[in-house]
């Protein structure tokens, strides 16, 4: 499954000043190398709720097949940024944004974008497990059926594959018709991951996916994330710096609605370029 053998070599991309698409702020690279394709490219992105700016002038690239952790103090705009990547903020009254978010060569906020297709390809898992009020099997199958990804006769097989992929099959194979709310919190979150993976996303956005889980469940989720790359590009918002260190290839540090710094895990934690980053990772601000 894993076709990229080596862990990404990290290098900042030299952005040509003449490139109008990235003119202005320095384009931060939260991926592998500049040569690898970028699953998502954010340029000068600003978002506000009812006139109050939440994130400002964010420029960031997410290299294909990488795990990027977004860290920062509470209220710094991490989740808002994450939800901007698949336009989950659109429905919130008062949401306004400008700047560019590209998913490969497609402008996410452009005219004629099929939101349903975008969200299928840029999936999301939330802080608290949110299984649907239907059986365990239906939970995984509903996205497959909604997008008619496989013939009806193969849905069951796909459900099993996804449940096996997240390591839940053994625990639920004999109670697929049970309520998902009978599962433990960790199992529910794995089910939500299976549900998201069932529609074959290219990018998976995770908003503090383990914050309500116990350490063993957290480890299971983290292990799964590591196994999912490089087939899927992962962006994970986390408050847990140790988790960012364990799972991520790159870390983006947000503060007061701005992207302060991005770099490799080693660089951010051991040799941050910005004072605020150093203070945050050392626990002096939080």
């Amino acid at each position: 499954m894993n076709t990229v053998q080596a862990k990404p070599v990290v290098a900042e991309v030299a952005v040509p000043a003449s490139n109008p698409a990235v003119a202005g702020p320095e384009l931060e690279v939260a991926g592998t190398t500049g040569a690898l394709p970028k699953a998502m490219t954010v340029t000068g992105f600003t978002g506000a709720f009812s006139g109050k700016t939440i994130i400002e002038d964010i420029s960031l690239e997410l290299a294909e097949g990488s795990i990027t952790a977004i860290v920062g103090p509470s209220g710094c705009g991490k989740s808002t940024f994450l939800r901007s990547l698949n336009r989950m903020n659109d429905r919130i009254p008062g949401w306004k944004c400008n700047g560019s978010v590209r998913f490969y060569d497609q402008d996410v906020y452009g005219q004629g974008v099929d939101l349903l297709s975008l969200r299928r390809r840029v999936g999301m898992v939330f802080q608290r497990p949110n299984p649907f009020p239907m059986s365990i099997e239906e939970n995984v199958a509903c996205g497959i059926k909604a997008h008619r990804l496989v013939p009806r006769s193969e849905v069951r097989r796909r459900v099993q594959d996804r449940l096996e992929e997240v390591g839940l099959w053994k625990a639920v194979h004999d109670r697929l018709h049970d309520s998902p709310f009978r599962l433990s919190g960790g199992q529910q979150q794995l089910l939500c991951l299976a549900r998201s993976l069932a529609v074959s996303p290219d990018v998976l956005l995770l908003d503090e996916p383990t914050s309500s889980l116990d350490p063993i469940s957290t480890e299971a989720v983290e292990q799964l994330l590591k196994e999912l790359v490089p087939d899927i590009t992962i962006v994970i918002v986390t408050h847990n710096l140790a988790q960012a260190r364990r799972v991520a290839d790159r870390v983006a540090f947000f503060m007061d609605g701005r992207l302060v710094e991005t770099g490799t895990v080693q660089q951010i934690f051991e040799d941050p370029r910005r004072i605020e980053t150093g203070q945050y990772v050392s626990g002096r601000i939080g």
Binding site: N86, M88, R91, L115, L116, S117, L118, R119, R120, R121, G123, M124, V125, F126, R128, N130, P131, F132, P133, M134, S135, C142, G143, A146, H147, S179, P180, F181, C192, R195, S196, V199
Partner: protein, 295 residues
């Protein structure tokens, strides 16, 4: 091991707490008793008056003059209930879905206001309007359809409200999860929201039916009364129903008429009880996939 002794101040606080608790228990107990005892008394009275004169022929024979049975009234009530279930169910649930999911601010205020006004209109006025508009205006005369429409008008606000509240009570995380999967709105409504709200919606619908079978005034104006089994003719098809004998026959100086009234009340109590039990069973069945403590 030594116990920590309460200080005089703490003892005072504890006494005040105990007194407060006792008063609250008393108030709540009295409120419960005020609610439950009259219901028990009413149901007891109905059963006590009906059982001694009960004959199975009440269910198999139609009314003959002031006597006979109630078969056509039982059938009429059941048919009316089914018609109201379909007509009011579709329109009421539809209105509730619109209010919860689609209505913009202005149309929501308008529609919500209209349903609240309709809910506040006395049922006899609804019956009278049904009489003037349908029986007289459209020349239907007394008709099962006029009766069903009048009853529908009475219960629609209730169904719309319970549907709206049930849908609004669906956790936003369900919708958010479905949106994040790229499911289209109509699918989210059908497969997630309505499924999550179905227990509340069905309970509301069944309770609305229970309300409708207990109505008399609108039916006097629209269905009138009949000793024949109901027909579905639009014109001139009066229908018998269970609340009519209670209203009309109870004070007749003939025993057979009084028995019709008491047996009608008995059958109505059984029907309403069955509806309440059905709503509980359906609700339990439909909420089997809901998180614990919800649905």
């Amino acid at each position: 091991m030594t116990l920590v002794a309460a200080t005089p101040h703490e003892k005072g606080v504890n006494r005040a707490r105990t007194a407060g608790d006792t008063i609250m228990w008393l108030v709540c107990g009295l409120a419960l008793a005020a609610l439950v005892l009259p219901i028990i008394w009413i149901i007891g009275q109905v059963i006590a008056r009906a059982i001694p004169h009960f004959r199975w022929s009440f269910l198999t024979q139609p009314t003959i003059g002031n006597g006979g049975g109630l078969s056509q009234a039982v059938l009429g009530t059941l048919v009316l209930m089914a018609m109201v279930g379909v007509i009011a169910g579709v329109t009421g649930v539809g209105a509730g879905i619109y209010l919860a999911e689609y209505a913009r601010r202005r149309s929501a205020i308008l529609l919500r206001g209209a349903t609240e006004v309709l809910a506040g209109v006395p049922s006899i006025i609804v019956g009278y309007v049904g009489f003037t508009a349908l029986a007289i205006g459209l020349k239907w005369k007394f008709s099962i359809w006029a009766a069903a429409i009048a009853l529908t008008a009475i219960v629609i606000p209730y169904i719309a409200k319970t549907t709206e509240l049930a849908l609004r009570g669906v956790p936003g995380s369900f919708r958010e999860g479905a949106e994040a999967l790229g499911m289209r709105d109509i699918l989210i409504l059908r497969r997630i929201s309505l499924r999550a709200a179905s227990s509340g919606i069905i309970t509301g619908l069944i309770m609305a039916l229970a309300i409708s079978v207990g109505e008399t005034a609108p039916l006097l104006y629209t269905a009138f009364w009949s000793v024949h089994n109901p027909t579905f003719g639009l014109h001139n098809s009066p229908v018998g129903y269970l609340t009519y004998p209670i209203w009309t026959f109870y004070n007749y100086p003939v025993k057979s008429a009084t028995y019709l009234a008491t047996e009608s009340a008995f059958f109505l109590v059984i029907l309403v009880g069955a509806l309440i039990i059905a709503s509980r069973l359906v609700s339990r069945r439909l909420s089997r996939y809901m998180p614990l403590g919800q649905g």
